[in-house]
């Protein structure tokens, strides 16, 4: 089926590789033969105008969207394909579930489980997906909630937490699964300005540990510049420009990048 793609990428593979990935919704081609590598423990921020396909990149990696063409590799293994008779075929559910364990995602609207406490939200998947014991899941979840600064809120339901607190629970919940890759989709866009900082602080401290590969879609340009190893500027489903934060923000080469940055920075 997929003759020109290797079955796996061997031992020195990047953590994530998009290889000629195309995504369409009907007639609309949202991503056009996208190539993108992310190295282990690298922090990459994706910026670009609305509708340029940023969210779609993350959702395909989370296997929330199917891909129409190309192959995504995670830790060297194909994500939504699997090898059979020396060819890549569509992955079965068992393969998808194995691969998905590598990846966690934090959403713009938190998506916490409203009927569970902060602690319950964090313990749910470690216990019922990974099969971890209650004691172990509890210890891990308490530790993570403390790390995100919510040690005194562990028994609260989401409805009783502020947006910033809910988003920090969501980060702890994703981390409880010990993913290798963590995806952030505009995680501060739904927050009141005064609580954005507390969420960014959590992400900042994660970034400083450099033990997690992070892909982040964001409109917080200052923050992206501060913590990212690399910035990708998306325009109409393609990477129009990528590079070190300093280069992108101080010396953008592409006309589109310049326009976008000046529009965003003016708005701030």
């Amino acid at each position: 089926m997929k003759e020109n793609f290797p079955l796996n990428l061997g031992s020195d593979a990047p953590m994530v590789r998009f290889s000629k990935v195309t995504k369409c919704y009907g007639e609309l081609t949202v991503l056009d033969s996208l190539d993108l590598d992310v190295q282990q423990n690298e922090i990459v921020s994706i910026i670009g105008p609305s509708g340029s396909g940023k969210t779609t990149v993350l959702r395909m990696l989370m296997t929330l969207e199917e891909i129409n063409d190309g192959v995504i590799y995670v830790d060297g293994q194909p994500l939504t394909h699997m090898p059979k008779n020396n060819e890549l075929i569509k992955a079965n559910e068992a393969h998808l579930r194995k691969m998905r364990n590598n990846i966690g995602m934090v959403f713009q609207h938190f998506n916490l489980f409203p009927h569970m406490t902060a602690l319950g939200n964090c313990m749910e998947a470690p216990m019922h997906v990974l099969g971890m014991s209650r004691t172990e899941a509890l210890a891990r979840s308490e530790e993570l909630l403390e790390m995100v600064g919510l040690a005194d809120k562990i028994h609260e339901h989401p409805a009783r937490l502020s947006g910033g607190q809910q988003q920090r629970v969501a980060i702890a919940r994703a981390l409880a699964m010990r993913p290798k890759i963590l995806l952030f989709d505009e995680v501060t866009s739904a927050l009141d300005p005064e609580v954005i900082g507390e969420v960014l602080n959590v992400i900042r401290s994660l970034a400083s540990e450099h033990s997690l590969t992070m892909l982040m879609v964001t409109h917080q340009m200052g923050f992206a510049r501060e913590i990212s190893d690399r910035i990708c500027f998306f325009y109409e489903g393609k990477i129009a420009e990528e590079g070190a934060p300093q280069q992108i923000f101080e010396n953008p080469q592409n006309e589109r990048t310049r326009q976008f940055l000046s529009a965003v920075l003016d708005a701030n």
């Binding site: 989370m62 296997t63 929330l64 579930r97 998905r100 364990n101 990846i103 966690g104 995602m105 959403f107 609207h109 938190f110 998506n111 916490l112 489980f113 409203p114 009927h115 569970m116 406490t117 749910e124 998947a125 019922h128 997906v129 339901h157 989401p158 409805a159 009783r160 919940r173 994703a174 699964m177």
Partner: protein, 222 residues
């Protein structure tokens, strides 16, 4: 008034007997309806067309034809095909299957009303279909469907009056019998009317509201 008290003294026992049968019919039919509603409501959302199709046919058939005709079918026609129910069983089975079809639509609608973000969070946490439904989606769907289920259970209670037509000795049956021997129609059907009303408004509605509050609290709603 004096006259009505005498009437009650003479026939009150039979109204009590009838009411007890109506309560049994209602409880058994409700259990069946809930089971049927959960099963066909979830099948209705299956990705497999055969499962979804089976559910659609069931729901359409039982909602699209009359409960009375279904009751007669189950009691009078199925025996000709070799399936025989006693009248008590035929009664609650017909009512349960019929109201279950309406309930299936409530189950489907409430599952679909759980926000998409909940499914995506489950997916991102790698939960299986079974875990996702049982632990995340259904508890939230239940909270959404409880108010309409309150109405449906009252419909079900009232619907059980039809079983008197196949001679199940329920409240309606007793009222008709007493009316037949005494010709006191206002008293007979008036009493039945009041008992049905009290069961609906004093037992079912407050019961459902209490369960709604309990579940709401459990779900963290303030």
């Amino acid at each position: 008034m004096q006259h009505y008290l005498e009437y009650l003294q003479a026939y009150g026992g039979r109204f009590v007997d009838g009411t007890l049968v109506t309560i049994q019919q209602t409880l058994l039919a409700a259990l069946l309806a809930i089971f049927v509603a959960a099963l066909f409501g979830m099948m209705r959302l299956s990705e497999k067309w055969l499962i979804r199709g089976t559910s659609i046919v069931y729901i359409e058939f039982f909602r699209g034809t009359s409960l009375l005709v279904q009751l007669y079918w189950i009691f009078f026609v199925l025996p000709l095909l070799g399936v025989t129910f006693d009248k008590f069983t035929a009664g609650f089975v017909a009512v349960g299957l019929n109201l279950g079809a309406y309930g299936a639509e409530l189950v489907r609608g409430s599952i679909e009303a759980v926000p998409k973000g909940q499914y995506e969070a489950c997916h991102a946490l790698n939960m299986s279909y079974y875990k996702r439904m049982r632990r995340i989606i259904l508890p939230q769907a239940l909270l959404l469907m409880l108010p309409p289920w309150g109405n449906l259970l009252i419909e079900l209670l009232k619907g059980t009056a039809l079983v008197s037509l196949i001679s199940v000795t329920d409240l309606m049956f007793e009222a008709k019998q007493i009316n037949g021997t005494t010709y006191l129609s206002a008293e007979s059907f008036g009493t039945a009317l009041i008992i049905y009303y009290l069961m609906a408004r004093v037992v079912v509605s407050p019961g459902m509201r209490a369960f709604e509050r309990y579940w709401g609290k459990k779900m963290g709603r303030i």
